[in-house]
C-alpha cells in the first residue's frame, strides 16, 4: 500500500511539474510573442511613441513680408508684441476631491489695481476679467513687448505673457486703402495685404527637442530645426511723398468744399505704374473702428461715376482716329442743340460760334462735342471707349475693383451717342479715366496699371513683376493731337482749366462736372462730381494726375474745385520725380546770383520795415509824453 502511494505520488508530482513547465513555457511563449510584437512587428509605432513622449515640437511662425514704397520706404512691417493673459482659477480657492480647500494663489483686487494703470484700463474692468469662470482670459493683446516684460517682472500670480507678431503701419493712414490691413490674428483682410497674402505670408517652421521629466530641455539631446520661411517683401510702385501729397490734398479739398469724398490717382506715363492712389476720408489701420468701414474701400477702383466732360477728349480722339474730323475741322456751334428728342446745352450761353475741336475742348462745349460725335458714329465711339479700357476692370486685380459700364450695342438709343460723348450714360472708375489719359500721353499705347514693382526674397534682390500688358488704342498722331488740345484747354479765353496751371511747366488737362446719379434712379439735383484729369510736362508727358471730388458744396465746377487740387498734386509729383520745369534748368551761377539778389532785397525790405517800426515807436513815445504833459 505504502509503496503504491509513493509511486502514485511521484507520478502525480511529475505531472504537476510537467504542467507547471508547460504553463511556464506558455507564459514564456506569450512574453516572447509580445516581445516580438513590440520589438519587430510594431517596432516603428513604439519607437514613435517613445520619441513622442520625450520630444516636444514647437511651431516657429514665419514672419510676414514687409511692404515698401518704390524707394524702399517701409509702409507695413511686423514686430513682436506681448499679449497679457490671466488664469482666473488662480483667484478663487480650489476645493479638491478630498474636500480640502486650497487657498487662492492671488488676490484679484490687488492684481487688478496693479495692472490697471499699466494696461491703461479701469481696475474694475481688469477685476471683472480676473474673476470670470474661465481658464484663460485675454487682458491685453499685442501691446508693446517692453510693457509685457515689465508686467512679467512683477511676478503677479495667475498672469502670463505670450509673444505674437503684430502688423504695424508706420505711416498711420498713409496709403491705408491701398495697403489694406490684417486682422489681430494675422489674417489678411483688405487691400494688397489680402491680394498678395500668398506672397507676404511666411511658411511656419518647427523646432523639435528632447525634454526631461518636468518639461525641461535636455541640453545635449536631439534638436531639429526646420526654419520658418519668411514671406516675401512687396515693393510697390507708390511713391510715399506723392502718396502723402495726394492724401493731404484730398483731405483738404473735402474740408474746403464740404465734399463727401475725394479721390486722387497719380500715374507714370509709359510704365503704367501708380505713383499715388488716395481716397479721403481715410482711416488708421492700426486703430480700426467699425463705424469707419465706408472709408476702407479704395475709391479709385471700387467707385463708379459718370465722368462728365473729362470723357470729351476720348470722344474727340475717337473722331480723329476714325478720320471723321481733323484738328482743323470747324463746327458751327450753338449753345443749345436738339438730338433724339432731347435738348443739350452748353454751360454758358453763347451765340453760334465757329470752333475747331481744340476750341470746343477748351470751352468744354457739350454741343460741339456732340456734333463731333455725330460724325464719328455710334460704333466707332463705343469701340474707342472700350479700347481706352472703359467698361472692364483695369487688369490691376485689386480686391473689389469694378469694370464700369459702356452700353452694349443693342442698348444705344437716340440719346446714347450724345450723352456718352459728354461723359453721361457711361460709368468708369477714376483709375480707368487716368489710364485712358495716360494712353494718350504715351503716344496712343494703353498700358495696364500696376501697383507692385516686384518682390524681395531672403537674398535681398528685387524680383521684378512681369511687365504689364500694353496695346495701341489710337495712332501716335491722334494721341499727339489730343494732348496738344489738352494743352490749349489750359490757356486762353474761356478755357476751363486755368486754375490747374503750374508756373514753369506746360500742363494739359480737362475739367469735368457731372450731376450725380441718384440712388433712386435718375439724377440727383444739386449733387455733382467735380473732376480734373491732366498730364505734364506737355512736351514729354511723364505724369498723369486725376482728381475726383464727390458732392462739393458751394462751388462745384471741376475748374474751381478739382483743378486747384490737381495743381497741388501734380506739382508735388513733378518735384518728387525730379522732373525739371520746361523753363528752368538754370546754370548754378545764375541761381546763386538770383539768390544773392533775393537776399539783398530781403535785407533792404527788413531795414525799411525796422525804420518804419522805429519811427512809429518814437512817434508813440512822443504822443505819450505830450499826453503826460
Amino acid at each position: 500500500m505504502s509503496r503504491w502511494r509513493l509511486e502514485d505520488h511521484a507520478r502525480l508530482s511529475l505531472r504537476r511539474i510537467r504542467a507547471a513547465f508547460a504553463l511556464f513555457l506558455l507564459v514564456s511563449a506569450l512574453a516572447v510573442a509580445q516581445l516580438v510584437d513590440i520589438q519587430v512587428l510594431s517596432a516603428a509605432e513604439h519607437t514613435e511613441r517613445g520619441v513622442r513622449q520625450r520630444t516636444r515640437e514647437i511651431d516657429l511662425a514665419g514672419s510676414r513680408g514687409r511692404i515698401y514704397d518704390r524707394e524702399g520706404d517701409v509702409l507695413a512691417t511686423s514686430v513682436t508684441s506681448a499679449t497679457i493673459y490671466a488664469d482666473p482659477r488662480s483667484f478663487v480657492p480650489e476645493v479638491r476631491a478630498d474636500g480640502r480647500t486650497v487657498p487662492a494663489a492671488g488676490d484679484a483686487v490687488r492684481v487688478a489695481r496693479t495692472l490697471a494703470p499699466l494696461l491703461e484700463r479701469d481696475a474694475d474692468w481688469v477685476e471683472e476679467r480676473l474673476l470670470r469662470d474661465a481658464h484663460f482670459v485675454y487682458l491685453a493683446r499685442q501691446v508693446d513687448l517692453r510693457l509685457g516684460e515689465d508686467i512679467m517682472a512683477l511676478r503677479l500670480p495667475g498672469i502670463g505673457m505670450l509673444t505674437e507678431p503684430k502688423r504695424v503701419y508706420p505711416g498711420g493712414s498713409l496709403a491705408a486703402q491701398v495697403i489694406g490691413f490684417t486682422g489681430i490674428d494675422g489674417d489678411a483682410l483688405q487691400g494688397l495685404e489680402a491680394r498678395h497674402d500668398d506672397l507676404l505670408r511666411g511658411t511656419p517652421g518647427t523646432l523639435r527637442f528632447e525634454r526631461a521629466i518636468g518639461g525641461l530641455s535636455i541640453a545635449p539631446g536631439t534638436r531639429e530645426v526646420a526654419p520658418p520661411v519668411p514671406g516675401r517683401d512687396l515693393v510697390l510702385t507708390l511713391d510715399r511723398d506723392i502718396q502723402f501729397a495726394a492724401e493731404r490734398v484730398a483731405s483738404e479739398v473735402i474740408e474746403r468744399h464740404g465734399a463727401q469724398a475725394a479721390t486722387v490717382v497719380v500715374l507714370e506715363v509709359g510704365s503704367g505704374e501708380i505713383l499715388g492712389m488716395a481716397s479721403a476720408p481715410t482711416f488708421d489701420p492700426s486703430a480700426l473702428r467699425d463705424e469707419e468701414q465706408a472709408f476702407w474701400r479704395n475709391r479709385a477702383v471700387t467707385d463708379l461715376f459718370e465722368p462728365g466732360s473729362v470723357q470729351k477728349p476720348l470722344a474727340i480722339a475717337a473722331a480723329l482716329e476714325s478720320g471723321a474730323i481733323t484738328p482743323a475741322t470747324t463746327f458751327e456751334v450753338p449753345d443749345r442743340y436738339r438730338v433724339g428728342g432731347s435738348t443739350f446745352s452748353d454751360v454758358s450761353k453763347h451765340g453760334t460760334e465757329t470752333w475747331t475741336p481744340s476750341e470746343i475742348l477748351a470751352r468744354s462745349s457739350n454741343v460741339g462735342t456732340i456734333m463731333i460725335a455725330q460724325r464719328t458714329g455710334e460704333e466707332a465711339l463705343r469701340d474707342q471707349l472700350l479700347a481706352f479700357g472703359l467698361g472692364a476692370p483695369s487688369g490691376l486685380r485689386f480686391p473689389g475693383e469694378v469694370g464700369g459700364h459702356v452700353p452694349a450695342p443693342d442698348q444705344w438709343w437716340a440719346t446714347t451717342l450724345p450723352t456718352a460723348s459728354i461723359g453721361y450714360g457711361t460709368s468708369s472708375t477714376l483709375l480707368q479715366m487716368a489710364n485712358a489719359y495716360a494712353a494718350l500721353a504715351n503716344g496712343g499705347v494703353l498700358v495696364d496699371p500696376v501697383l507692385v514693382r516686384g518682390t524681395v526674397g531672403g537674398d535681398g534682390t528685387l524680383e521684378a513683376t512681369a511687365p504689364p500688358a500694353a496695346r495701341r488704342v489710337v495712332s501716335e498722331v491722334t494721341a499727339a493731337q489730343v494732348i496738344d488740345m489738352l494743352g490749349q484747354a489750359m490757356d486762353g479765353d474761356g478755357a476751363t482749366g486755368t486754375r490747374a496751371r503750374i508756373p514753369g511747366y506746360r500742363i494739359g488737362g480737362k475739367t469735368g462736372t457731372a450731376i450725380k446719379v441718384s440712388a433712386s434712379g435718375g439724377y440727383a439735383e444739386g449733387e455733382y462730381v467735380s473732376t480734373f484729369v491732366g498730364v505734364a510736362p506737355l512736351e514729354d508727358p511723364r505724369i498723369v494726375v486725376a482728381v475726383m471730388v464727390d458732392d462739393p458744396q458751394g462751388d462745384y465746377y471741376g475748374g474751381l474745385v478739382a483743378a486747384p487740387a490737381f495743381r497741388e498734386v501734380m506739382h508735388a509729383s513733378l518735384l518728387a520725380r525730379r522732373i525739371v520745369p520746361d523753363s528752368e534748368g538754370q546754370p548754378l551761377a545764375q541761381v546763386v546770383e538770383a539768390t544773392r539778389d533775393a537776399a539783398a532785397e530781403y535785407e533792404a525790405m527788413r531795414a525799411a520795415a525796422l525804420a518804419v517800426e522805429r519811427a512809429a515807436a518814437e512817434q508813440a513815445a512822443a504822443e505819450r509824453d505830450t499826453a503826460g504833459d
Partner: protein
C-alpha cells in the same frame, strides 16, 4: 689487476640554466596584471572621456541656446527699429513738425541742371553690371 675496472671519479657537470621561455610562470602573472590595469585604465579613461565630451556638448548646447536667444532679441530689436525709423520718416509727421517750427511750404522751388549725370533708379550700367538702385536711397539690398 682485478676485473673490476676502476671507475673514473665522477665529475659534476655544470647544468645549463633553463631558458626563460621554459619558466614563464612568474612573468605570465605580471603580464595579466599589467593587462588588467591597462584595461581598467582604458575603461576609466573612456568613461571620463565620454562624460567629459557630454559635459562639453551640454556646455556648448547651452552657449548655442544663449546665442540663439541673443539673435532672436537682435532680430526683434531690428524689426522694432525699422518700424520706428519708418514712423519717424512719415511725411505727415515731418510736415507737422516743420509747421510747428514755423516753416512754410515752398512756393518757388528751384532746380539745378547738373552737368554730370547721376545714376538713376533702375539704370543699368553700360558694362552690363547689375541694375543700380536710386543712389539717394540704396535700401533694397541684403542689408536692408
Amino acid at each position: 689487476m682485478s676485473a673490476v675496472a676502476l671507475q673514473q671519479p665522477r665529475r659534476l657537470r655544470a647544468v645549463e640554466a633553463p631558458v626563460a621561455a621554459d619558466v614563464p610562470v612568474v612573468a605570465s602573472g605580471r603580464r595579466t596584471l599589467v593587462l588588467a590595469l591597462a584595461t581598467s585604465f582604458l575603461i576609466v579613461a573612456a568613461v571620463f572621456g565620454i562624460v567629459g565630451l557630454n559635459a562639453m556638448t551640454a556646455d556648448l548646447a547651452v552657449d548655442a541656446r544663449a546665442l540663439e536667444l541673443q539673435v532672436g532679441h537682435a532680430e526683434r530689436r531690428y524689426a522694432e527699429l525699422v518700424a520706428a525709423v519708418a514712423a519717424k520718416e512719415d511725411p505727415s509727421r515731418i510736415r507737422e513738425r516743420a509747421l510747428e517750427l514755423g516753416l512754410v511750404p515752398s512756393t518757388a522751388a528751384r532746380h539745378l541742371a547738373l552737368t554730370r549725370g547721376l545714376d538713376a533708379d533702375g539704370l543699368r550700367r553700360p558694362d552690363g553690371g547689375p541694375v543700380i538702385a536710386d543712389p539717394l536711397k540704396p535700401v533694397l539690398t541684403q542689408e536692408r
